[in-house]
Every structure is written in structure tokens, then in C-alpha cells.
């Protein structure tokens, strides 16, 4: 059953002026439950605008967005409820920390939901643990944390609302390789544990290749495709034409295939490539 649905979703910036542009152009989507979805596309492809429609921060100029089958704009009083069920973490979320302590900051969302003190406490601790934030840090001022810890505190603040859908816009931007890897693993574990749907907006094809089951590809305001990750990487040439940087491995495999090597089309990670090449080399029957 689809959790998020859009029908003919269109969003026009500066409507009625000469600068009128369709940031999102007739997008039809059905995103299922319990999924890890990668969202990719060029800057300005409309992916961020699309994401802000999912939790009702933007209202479509045309078309409909539904959460669990219900139009989110049908009753405006329910919008706040929608935002609790579709969590959105913006890029560089650490710049929105404001409370006196990390604990209070993480608790801001759950408190707005009107949860009981015990429940808030439980959720804050759980979210902090999920992101590897030391409990000792919870009593400190968020501004005294390191860059990576601030990022985690901010993301924990949205995770603690336990939304059915969690959207993360470039959660790894600016992190170093080790931090990025940890973050991606924690996000994946969060998804597995909560069985929620996570939308991971990313510029890193390597990251989405490894961590997502489905890919949503936006191109100049339109939905290029929404398919299984492996199926999308079979279209490497189309992705390149869109100006997307495909993983080095995918492009290497494409070059080898073009030279006549008998390699499957859906290889885009190092372990996959290693297995395929070992097989090819061991077989001895090389057709290049």
C-alpha cells in the first residue's frame, strides 16, 4: 500500500510574472511503506521543492498530495498532524538548533506533538542512541557540540517524532568519509528498526547506490523515473546525459561492456564489480 501519493503535482514559482517557472511539473508518484528511497537529480531539478510538498510546507499549484490515501490539503487544520507524520530534515540542520540543552532541542518536536513527559524522555534517549550521541552530551548546550554531533542532534530531533516517512536532504553534506559512513549506516538501521519509509536526497551516487532500494530521479522539474535502484543504474547513459555523475564503478563497467566484455548491466558497487570480474577472469573465456 502506498504511503505517499502524488497526482499531477505541479508547483509554479512566481506565478503570473515573467519569471514564472514550473519547479515541479505534473509528477505522479506512489511511494510504498517500509522502504529506503534515494532521491537524485541536479540542483534545480525540483527535488527539494517536491520534498517540501510531502509534508505540506508548500502547497501544490495544481494536483494533489496524499498521505495514506488522504489529501493533505483537504483539511488545513490537519497540516500540523501531517508534519508529525512526514518528518523533514533540511540541509545543514545543525543551524536550526536553539534550545538550552541538546535534550530539550531533541524534545522540541515530540513536545509539539503533545506527548507525555515519559514518552518524550523515552523517545529522546532512543533517537540519541540511534545516532550514536553520547547520553552525556544531552545535558550540554547544543552550541558546545562538534559539527558532527550538532548534525546528529538536529536529525535526532526529527527522528524522535517517529514519523511514518522521514525525508533527509543531504544529511552527509560536509561530513568526512568516516562520519558519512556512520551516518548512512545509522539511517539505514533507523529505517529497518522503525519500518518507516526514508527518503534520502543526495548528490552522491555512490551513497544511494549502496544504501537504497529504490531511486526517484528528477530532471528539470519532471519525474524521470521511480524504480528499483538496480534498474535505474541500468540506465547509466541516460543519467549521464542528465548531467548526473554516476559512480566510478558503473562508468567503468559501462566502458568494459562497450569494449565487448560480457558483464551484467546492474553493477554499481565495488563488491558487485569484484565478483563479476573474478568470475569473468576465472572463466578464462574472455570475449573482449
Amino acid at each position: 500500500m502506498a504511503i505517499l501519493t502524488t497526482e499531477g503535482l505541479t508547483y509554479i514559482y512566481s506565478a503570473g510574472t515573467p519569471f514564472e517557472t514550473a519547479a515541479v511539473d505534473h509528477v505522479d508518484l506512489q511511494i510504498g511503506e517500509d522502504l529506503m528511497v534515494g532521491v537524485i537529480g541536479h540542483t534545480g531539478s525540483g527535488k527539494s521543492t517536491l520534498m517540501q510538498h510531502f509534508n505540506g510546507l508548500l502547497q501544490p499549484t495544481e494536483g494533489k498530495v496524499s498521505l495514506e490515501g488522504k489529501d493533505i490539503w483537504a483539511d488545513k487544520k490537519m497540516l500540523r498532524e501531517v508534519r508529525f507524520r512526514v518528518g523533514l530534515v533540511f540541509q545543514y540542520p545543525e543551524y536550526q538548533l536553539f534550545e538550552e540543552t541538546v535534550f530539550q532541542d531533541i524534545a522540541f518536536g515530540p513536545k509539539n506533538m503533545g506527548l507525555s513527559g515519559n514518552e518524550i524522555q523515552r523517545r529522546v534517549l532512543w533517537a540519541a542512541d540511534s545516532l550514536g550521541l553520547d547520553r552525556e552530551l544531552l545535558g550540554r548546550s547544543p552550541f558546545a557540540l562538534s559539527g558532527g554531533q550538532k548534525r546528529r542532534a538536529a536529525i535526532a530531533g526529527v527522528m524522535a517524532m517517529l514519523p511514518k516517512v522521514l525525508i533527509l536532504d543531504e544529511p552527509c553534506a560536509g561530513l568526512d568519509p568516516k562520519g558519512r559512513l556512520q551516518m548512512l549506516r545509522q539511517i539505514r538501521d533507523y529505517q529497518k528498526q522503525t519500518k518507516s519509509t526514508v527518503l534520502l536526497v543526495s548528490h552522491s551516487m555512490e551513497d544511494v547506490a549502496e544504501y537504497t532500494e529504490k531511486l526517484l530521479v528528477m530532471d528539470r522539474g519532471r519525474l524521470f523515473c521511480y524504480e528499483d535502484t538496480a534498474a535505474v543504474f541500468r540506465k547509466v547513459e541516460a543519467l549521464q546525459e542528465m548531467g548526473l555523475r554516476i559512480p566510478q564503478i558503473a562508468s567503468l563497467m559501462l566502458a568494459l561492456r562497450q569494449r565487448g566484455c560480457d558483464l551484467p548491466e546492474d553493477i554499481y558497487t565495488v563488491p558487485q564489480a569484484k565478483d563479476a570480474l573474478v568470475q569473468l577472469l576465472r572463466k578464462g573465456a574472455v570475449s573482449c
Binding site: T43, G147, G174, D176, K178, L252, L256, V270, L281
Partner: protein
């Protein structure tokens, strides 16, 4: 040959009141020199001391122990501060926080204006600098109308207009999208190749380090590796243990070598990998 930068046994610790953990040594006895005209990447994870090292190059920080020389000038000599800053330009992570003026060309003119350069020469320096980074057509735009990559190129032009011999870039692409990163890297390479400006690029992206002539890897305030990109990335295990990435093709070759296939270890680019694999696949008897 004179060194562009010469670090002699530099040790540095942040004063306690600056929010850093008290007394933690950020740089430990670093000795290093960088030749004129070279392109050096400094790689390391957050907190490895790489940014602190960068700040020593143009005297934002001065060593607690040891000496730092930029073109022979001791950075602790306060009377030469502006000579050092003019010779060693610095570009930071967030382009928004480096742009001072409301018009692109005005911003690029900022440093020459500070240096008291005559107006006619400022004009020619500004135009040249903007052409070098491919932003001449945007000279009368407001910074807020530009993309991240464009802003960062304006920031670079603002430094080139000082006519420095050396540019230190502290994670200049960390906040940019892939397209912006490519534009900025292209501009950096052009500075180095065409203008002969020495480049020190602080980064944690290994793809960027792979473009340099030399890679210095830092960890906990010491230099742990210092060699050509090929030799540095070939040490896959070591890099991993330092919390750093290697290019995907390097990792692939490393895995295949572990399986007993004879491939050269020092492969960092897709073309090198393709050639090596093609050679291996073709030698095999049918």
C-alpha cells in the same frame, strides 16, 4: 630552490577559552616544505589538524613552538603580516561568508583596494581575475543571484586579484553540489597550471586529492603519509584505518589483487583501471 612554504617543527594548541578541548595539541611537531609551483593536497578527517595547519600558512595562527616560513618570511614577524597575507591567499569553505560587496566586481576589487593599488590597475586585475575563474560575464551581478560554485569562484577571483604566489583553499568544495565542485576544481587547476600559482588544497574528498601532484595525509596532528597520489592511495588498508576513502577503482584493483590477479597497485583513475583490466582480460588465453 627556494621553498614556498617551510614548516619547521610546528606545534600548536588552541588556547583554552576558544571552545576547544583544553590543552589538546592540534599540531604535533610538523616539518614540511612545499615547492614553488606545486599542487599539494592535504587530506585528513575532521579534527586531524589539517585546517589548523592551513591557518598557519597565512599567519591567522602562529605556531606555539617551531617556525613557519612563507617565501622565507617568518610568519611570527608581525611587521610582515600583510606581506604574508598578500603572498599567501586563503579561500574558505562557505563562499557566502567571504564575499564583502554587493556586486561581483566590487568584491574582487576589495583586496587590491586594501593594498592601495591605483584604480586603473585594479580594473585590469579584476577583469583578469574574473576571466581566470570564468566569471567575467557575471561581473555586475549581485552575489545573491549566483550559485554556490559561482560564488566560490568569485571568492577565488577575489584572492587572485591580490596577485598571490600561493593560494590555500580550506575545503572549498564542501558546501557545493557536484557541478559546483567541478567548476571550482577546474578553476584551481587552471591557476596552478596556467598562472603557476602554488596551490595547497585542504580537503577530505579523495577525488580532489587525486588531482594534486602530492598528497599529504594528516591524522591527529601529525603527517602520516606524504607522497604522490598514486603511492598514497595504493595503501588501501592504511587509508581505511585513517578513516579516509580511496577511489572506487583503487579499491576494486586492491580487491582483485587480493584474489591473486596481477594488476598494478597504483591505480587511481578510471582510465588507468580500464587499461589495466583490458590488458589483463586480453592476455588471458581464450
Amino acid at each position: 630552490m627556494e621553498h614556498m612554504i617551510e614548516a619547521k617543527h610546528i606545534t600548536f594548541r588552541y588556547p583554552v577559552d576558544e571552545g576547544q578541548p583544553a590543552g589538546e595539541t592540534v599540531l604535533k611537531d610538523i616539518s614540511l616544505h612545499i615547492e614553488k609551483g606545486s599542487f599539494v593536497a592535504v587530506l585528513g578527517h575532521n579534527g586531524s589538524g589539517k585546517s589548523t595547519f592551513a591557518k598557519h600558512i597565512n599567519a591567522i595562527l602562529v605556531p606555539e613552538e617551531g617556525k613557519m616560513f612563507v617565501e622565507g618570511i617568518d610568519t611570527s614577524d608581525e611587521s610582515r603580516l600583510f606581506d604574508i597575507r598578500q603572498k599567501a591567499g586563503m579561500v574558505f569553505q562557505d563562499p557566502d561568508n567571504q564575499i564583502v560587496a554587493t556586486v561581483v566586481e566590487e568584491d574582487v576589487a576589495f583586496a587590491p583596494e586594501n593594498l592601495g593599488v591605483p584604480p586603473a590597475e585594479i580594473r585590469s586585475r579584476v577583469d583578469n581575475a574574473l576571466r581566470t575563474v570564468n566569471m567575467y560575464d557575471y561581473r555586475s551581478h549581485a552575489p545573491s543571484q549566483l550559485s554556490g560554485g559561482q560564488k566560490q569562484r568569485v571568492a577565488i577571483a577575489g584572492v587572485i586579484a591580490m596577485q598571490p604566489d600561493l593560494i590555500v583553499l580550506d575545503e572549498p568544495t564542501a558546501m557545493l553540489d557536484p557541478q559546483g565542485r567541478e567548476e571550482v576544481l577546474e578553476a584551481i587547476r587552471r591557476l596552478n597550471r596556467e598562472k603557476g600559482i602554488t596551490v595547497v588544497l585542504i580537503t577530505h574528498y579523495m577525488e580532489e586529492a587525486a588531482l594534486a601532484d602530492r598528497v599529504v595525509v594528516m591524522d591527529s596532528g601529525v603527517v602520516v603519509l606524504d607522497d604522490t597520489p598514486h603511492k598514497v592511495f595504493a595503501q588501501v588498508e592504511k587509508m581505511r584505518s585513517l578513516g579516509l576513502d580511496v577511489p572506487q577503482v583503487t579499491e576494486l584493483v586492491y580487491e582483485l589483487r587480493k584474489e591473486g590477479f596481477s594488476l598494478p597497485a597504483e591505480i587511481i583513475s578510471e582510465t588507468e583501471c580500464l587499461d589495466a583490466l583490458a590488458a589483463l582480460l586480453e592476455i588471458k588465453p581464450i
